[in-house]
Symmetry: C2
């Protein structure tokens, strides 16, 4: 199936990487729509598209409108465009698919399991993309787009997607919090975070081939209560961090 | 200064990577000593050395004996070899330097900030090595060895090293725990951990250039209490994991 029209709403991290990613994959982005004209024009330029103030009418049955905004705004925009004729697609892990629209309106979800920052390049080819759609034809349209970007396209219902989103919070947000805590601990002793950067990378590389449970190490893993006590004592001036250390260690002590 | 004799006690992860790393860096490993003969001979072969049942006498003032065993065993071996004449060096982040030995006995610490597994290759050149020694000459000997392995050699006292070790527990052990939790969440829904592996790598890559605080994202970072409630509800059958989610989110909510 040929996709004849692609529009993108938004200029944030996801919109930026989706627009430039699709463009590099050889797809034509017909328009970028955003409230912020300057940002919209910047992104439109980056993907040889044009910024539009008003979303144009859909020209065919395979016209796709990607809503790449905040979760709150997605809900509003899905309502706003609920008679637009576009296949309305959002990119959120936590918002369920709108299953039935008015008349012939169709909906889809295009959720890349990735962390996007405007300034950090993304490898789309290895980024898993979870798809869902309100009808078979829409799913086919989304598949034809997603497979141009990634080798890992998976059809997934909203319940499983929410589970993946929750799991992603652990590996992305909560891992990064461990980095923050470590960075701050080193700062107190005027030590550079550079000391830990290679270890952070090794830790992530190890689970690329292995199960995380297999490669767990550390005081709690080997039930080394003496080291745990020494560490807790080091954190006695910082009860919030001490609490995190204690609860994560307890979790590990019970796990193994 | 020329190092004329290097011996290594142990056959575990650190011993293996240290022995093979030093060998590849052009240093001669005079012997491997270990209780397990088979493992000792395996490692000796890998670094063109020989396994010895009894540690030979030190032949010169720059003879170094690396004690690469468990923390508990290190203490015992430091005592055992306290009149050996070797520069006695351990590789632990959490054991303080023995400052003064009997007679002319000297001590050192050679702590690589890295996570070692026998089967995963290690990039020694980027691995920070923290050094400490009981006298200036010993420090010079350790520097001459460490700089052959790594471009990041840092002299550090035991208090700072313990702080680094604590910080390493957060970025290594506690990040890996987040991966385990995510892996188990996906397993419950019969979803593959492969879905999260690229995200794990991106998360670690992002902080190679940036401060961890700068790149934090997620529900708690943007104070999205609605998503947090949805996630906590998803975890209601798993109170231990729910508790971790809650305490890490609370920490983030207070941090930003």
């Amino acid at each position: 199936m040929k996709v004849n029209q692609i529009g993108i709403i938004g200029t944030g991290n996801v919109a930026t990487h989706l627009a430039t990613g699709l463009y590099k994959a050889g797809l034509k982005i017909d328009f970028i729509h955003s409230r912020n004209e300057k940002e919209g024009k910047r992104l439109a330029k980056a993907c040889s598209s044009e910024w539009v103030n008003i979303v144009p009418k859909s020209t065919n049955s395979a016209a796709v409108l990607f809503i790449c905004t905040t979760d709150e705004s997605i809900q509003v925009l899905i309502k706003k465009f609920s008679r637009s004729g576009y296949l309305l697609v959002h990119c959120s892990g936590s918002i369920a698919l709108t299953k039935k629209g008015q008349g012939n309106q169709h909906y889809g979800v295009f959720y890349p399991i990735q962390s996007f920052s405007k300034t950090v390049p993304v490898d789309w080819s290895t980024t898993p993309i979870c798809l869902e759609a309100s009808n078979k034809e829409s799913l086919t349209v989304l598949k034809s787009i997603a497979t141009k970007l990634s080798k890992k396209v998976k059809v997934m219902d909203s319940a499983d997607r929410l589970k993946v989103h929750l799991a992603a919070v652990f590996v992305n947000n909560f891992s990064n919090l461990q980095y923050i805590i470590a960075e701050n601990l080193l700062k107190e002793s005027h030590l550079s975070f550079d000391l830990l950067r290679p270890l952070i990378l090794t830790t992530a590389l190890k689970v690329q081939q292995n199960s995380a449970e297999q490669v767990q190490t550390g005081p709690a893993r080997r039930k080394d209560l003496k080291s745990i006590r020494i560490h807790l004592n080091l954190l006695k001036e910082d009860p919030a961090t001490q609490k995190i250390y204690r609860s994560l260690s307890n979790y590990l002590l019970h796990l193994f």
